[in-house]
């Protein structure tokens, strides 16, 4: 009999995936669920988002370097790929560290888990507001950043960093606040 693995498209998780994260058996990531390690991961992720968002200013940095165009291209492309890949890996580790609770649907969680998930979303909503406010101040008063122009201070990295940050905020809040996950 084929096993049903329900896919929750809206939440971006599968039933099997969430159940396996909630289950302690065969867990290779138990160390990641310690509060201290979760908080370290949150700090690393925050720094990662800052580095990623600063990518918008790399062209300015590039202009001040006295290396060949080819070397610049290799250095900056490799750095960009590594930063984006690290952010994706960090995001996935973060999901594992909170057992996928931040992204799981109600029917796979118990009442306490639903409560902590909802609280994390509430605080993430506030944080998103503050980040958006900071971003608007930066765009109005900060050095000129153009989105997807491919020249000058291209704001694509800033845009990607904010998107990743918004997607990660519920897990980050949960990872920071909860004693036992």
């Amino acid at each position: 009999m084929p096993k049903n693995n329900k896919i929750y498209w809206f939440e971006g998780v599968t039933e099997k995936g969430v159940k396996s994260l909630l289950n302690d058996q065969n867990s290779k990531f138990a160390w990641l669920r310690l509060q201290r390690n979760r908080r370290i991961l949150v700090i690393i992720m925050t720094l990662g988002f800052l580095v990623l968002s600063l990518g918008s200013y790399w062209p300015v940095l590039k202009a001040n370097l006295t290396i060949s165009q080819g070397a610049q291209l290799v250095i900056f492309s490799t750095t960009a790929i590594l930063v984006v890949l690290s952010t994706i890996v960090g995001y996935l580790l973060l999901r594992v560290s909170v057992r996928g609770i931040a992204d799981a649907p109600d029917e796979l969680l118990d009442e306490r888990q639903i409560k902590i998930r909802n609280t994390s979303f509430r605080y993430s909503y506030y944080l998103m507001g503050y980040i958006t406010m900071g971003l608007m101040i930066l765009l109005i008063y900060g050095p000129g950043v153009s989105l997807f122009q491919g020249e000058g201070n291209d704001g694509s990295y800033l845009f990607i960093a904010v998107l990743f940050a918004f997607a990660s905020l519920p897990s980050m809040t949960l990872a920071w606040r909860e004693k036992d996950i």
């Binding site: 888990q113 605080y123 036992d180 996950i181």
Partner: protein
């Protein structure tokens, strides 16, 4: 804004405690946290949170736990601390 950041950084909000004797009743029946959790349909850590009185259960969960531990809700849960040895 500062209050929100403070609340996020704090581990958890204070909650009015519901005192309980889940641990005593569970160990008397020889059940592990996992076994009780499976019987009442919650994660085993939720049982831990309840036993440490760090989480107040809903009425539905309190009734399920009482049934699983063969005790009444009033024997198992209280708004005031239980006297030791009782």
């Amino acid at each position: 804004m500062l209050h929100s950041i403070y609340a996020i950084c704090m581990s958890r909000n204070p909650e009015e405690p519901v005192y309980n004797r889940i641990e005593q009743a569970r160990t008397a029946l020889g059940l592990t946290r996992q076994e009780l959790a499976d019987q009442v349909g919650v994660h085993y850590q939720t049982i831990g949170y309840l036993e440490r009185e760090e989480y107040s259960p809903s009425l539905v969960l309190a009734l399920r736990i009482s049934e699983a531990l063969n005790q009444s809700v009033s024997e198992l849960f209280s708004m005031t601390a239980f006297k030791k040895g009782k």
